[in-house]
């Protein structure tokens, strides 16, 4: 379980830092917000990201991917957390493509993954139906109709759900809401008949959508009623990658805050000389270092196919949830008055932190899950 990046991964991280810093800094998100961009990301930027190979970075070479591993993808995503870059990388590559890759037939993989790798098509995953992440609480139903299935119900907070070309939908084919048995996955076209997709405007200015399914045709992905076996590891990949994004954001605002402490003067001295602020900053630093180790180990759990993937995903997400919460609050407070202005970018991170905390499970959800998986 390597807990340091290798040479290649470090290079990739440096490239990502440079590219995102110049092509998609926080101002880019501000621009998308201020112009009320309906799509929620810059398509040209996504093409450039695809040209850098990022869209296919974890896909096997058979599907035109680079087979570079999640550790490398994590490095990119961590950098994208520093810049709050909006792109379909998470929805398409982490969620959608993972579902196809882990659950799809050869034909399904062949038909979708190469066009993901090229940046041509975007995907996403639709799971949650309520305001809190709860992947077993699926009520949206799928009923067999000839070769296909028809889906009826609702999904909320689907990342890039209103623009994705194909949506992997978790639906109930048997059992009752709350049971992990009886869930099946389906591939639904973004423009399918009966599907209504509505962009929701969230505080973090990133795109999520509500999807309403009225007898929408879907193609089964994986085995009937056994969708949980695919969904669970796909969500874990999502949680770990989201944790990487959050860790990037945390480090960025921590850095900005420490810089501000060194530069801002009050009462004739730099505020960074106040011991109370020093201790709070030093404590945050230690928490960040601990979290880094956890997230790195979680990525090795993906790449090495470790049996404790679920534990590591919950470990990483819970840890980084709490960390981003702490550091974003402290960043605002330590910046003082300008910290609460829209002009300063800290607010963008604060808003993103809370949305990222909710997506794919808050800390309570993950601590509960970690404990259960650990047998207590």
């Amino acid at each position: 379980m390597p807990l340091v990046l290798n040479e290649e991964q470090r290079l990739l991280k440096d490239t990502a830092k440079e590219f995102l810093g110049s092509s998609a800094p926080v101002e880019a998100l501000r621009k998308l917000r201020d112009e009320k961009n309906e799509i929620g990301y810059d398509k040209a930027l996504w093409q450039q990201m695809a040209e850098l190979g990022w869209a296919g970075i974890v896909l096997p070479e058979d599907y035109d991917g680079l087979d570079f591993g999640f550790m490398g993808l994590g490095a990119i995503i961590e950098e994208s957390g520093r810049t709050l870059t909006a792109s379909p990388l998470f929805s398409t590559v982490v969620l959608g493509a993972s579902a196809i890759l882990l659950g799809g037939s050869d034909e399904q993989k062949q038909s979708l993954l190469p066009s993901v790798a090229s940046g041509e098509k975007t995907l996403t995953l639709a799971v949650d139906e309520y305001a809190h992440h709860n992947p077993a609480a699926i009520a949206l139903s799928a009923k067999a109709q000839g070769e296909n299935f028809v889906l009826t119900g609702k999904k909320v907070c689907v990342v890039d759900g209103h623009t994705a070309d194909h949506i992997v939908v978790a639906a109930r084919t048997s059992g009752t809401t709350g049971s992990t048995d009886g869930i099946s996955l389906f591939i639904v076209d973004g423009d399918a008949e009966g599907l209504t997709r509505t962009r929701r405007w969230m505080a973090d200015s990133r795109a999520v959508a509500e999807l309403n399914f009225d007898k929408v045709s879907g193609q089964l992905l994986g085995e009937l009623d056994k969708g949980w076996d695919i969904l669970d590891p796909v969500l874990d990949r999502g949680r770990i990658c989201l944790a990487a994004e959050m860790l990037g954001g945390t480090q960025e605002i921590f850095k900005r805050t420490v810089d501000y402490l060194k530069e801002r003067e009050q009462f004739g001295v730099k505020i960074g000389s106040f011991q109370a602020l020093k201790h709070r900053a030093a404590h945050m630093f230690t928490e960040i270092e601990l979290a880094k180790s956890v997230v790195l180990d979680a990525f090795t759990a993906i790449d090495e196919g470790r049996a404790d993937l679920g534990q590591m995903a919950s470990f990483a997400k819970a840890t980084v949830n709490d960390l981003y919460y702490l550091v974003s609050n402290e960043a605002v407070q330590m910046h003082g008055g300008i910290g609460v202005t829209d002009e300063l970018e800290i607010g963008f991170f604060l808003k993103r932190s809370r949305m990222a905390i909710q997506l794919l499970g808050d800390s309570g959800f993950h601590r509960d899950r970690y404990a259960s998986l650990s047998g207590y």
């Binding site: 929701r200 969230m202 973090d204 003082g336 607010g347 309570g364 509960d368």
Partner: protein, 395 residues
Amino acid sequence: MDALETFRQEVREWLEANCPESQRKPASREEQVWAGRNQTFPSADAKLWFERMRDKGWTVPDWPKEYGGGGLNDAEAKILKDEMKRLGCRTPLLDIGIWMLGPALLEYGNEAQKQEHIPKIARGEIRWCQGYSEPGAGSDLASLQCKAEDKGDHFLVNGTKIWTTNADKSDWIFCLVRTDPNVKKQEGISFLLIDMESEGVSASPIELISGESEFCQTFFDNVKVPKENLVGELNKGWSVAKALLKHERKLMSEQETPAGTQITPVQAALDYVGTDANGKVANAALRDQLVRHEMKYRALGLTHFRSFEEKMSGAGEGNIPMIMKYVGTECTKEREETLIAMLGTQGLGWEGEGFNQDETLATRGWLFSKALSIAGGSSEVQLNIIAKRVLGLPD
């Protein structure tokens, strides 16, 4: 029945008879009644309620009758407050002149200033704003630079003030200005009242992370201010400011959910998280977070009450007012965090369909609350003060 009980009875009856039904539930932002030269009312009932309260002097119940106040003593004022709360009566008039300037003028103003300004505040005729902080000053308020030069018959004011709440909608501003740059920083400050219609005054809103822009930056470019607008002695403005700040902190410690969402964290938990078979909030960690907060919030309320009782009875050490700005604002921040945690992703909506008003107000209120522990003496400054003044720890 003692005099206070009689008074309570009278107040209760009067309120029952005079407070319109529509004014007996919390006001949304649009329904608030603010003071101003060109005062407007959201409804006929709001106007009626305001006028009835104004005519009794109960827009400012504990101010002297001679300046348009209600002339109530502390115990009576508390009774009025309690009875209004019992019935759910809205505050009839909102203005920083009521909360902050009035009490300072009553203490530091000369007779002419009291006669000129206080009745107008009581009657809601002038909307005031406050000019204390400056872009470079922050917590180190005394380092302010905005200067007022003595030009014989007037002061000439140049500089800028930040966080001037609603300055773009206000008629007058009370300011701290530097009148002597050559002495210890606290000793060269004066307290000035400035008409916002004076030539050279301009205000531009600052957008906050909550999307609101009620704060402004206000600029003074060669503004002439009559000498009679100096409150207290020249270069003694810091004393006025300190008294006022104490008042502001008390107000901030009592501040309720700022943006006016009607949903409580408990209700949000029941509605958005749901309950298990035993009626417990279904997510154990969220439930624990909720109950921790509810206890803190209730402890705060009890402590406000204890402070009042200590004041009334002369018992206790009188330290509570020193802690309430810190405790109150931190608790409000926690309340907002708890609320959005219970609401889940529905507590992070910004605008547009998919979110009801309570939900988006929760988002905005959460973001707005971040300012509370920064403005009016940051939590760090408050802790310094408690350590020094209450605990007597050395510098």
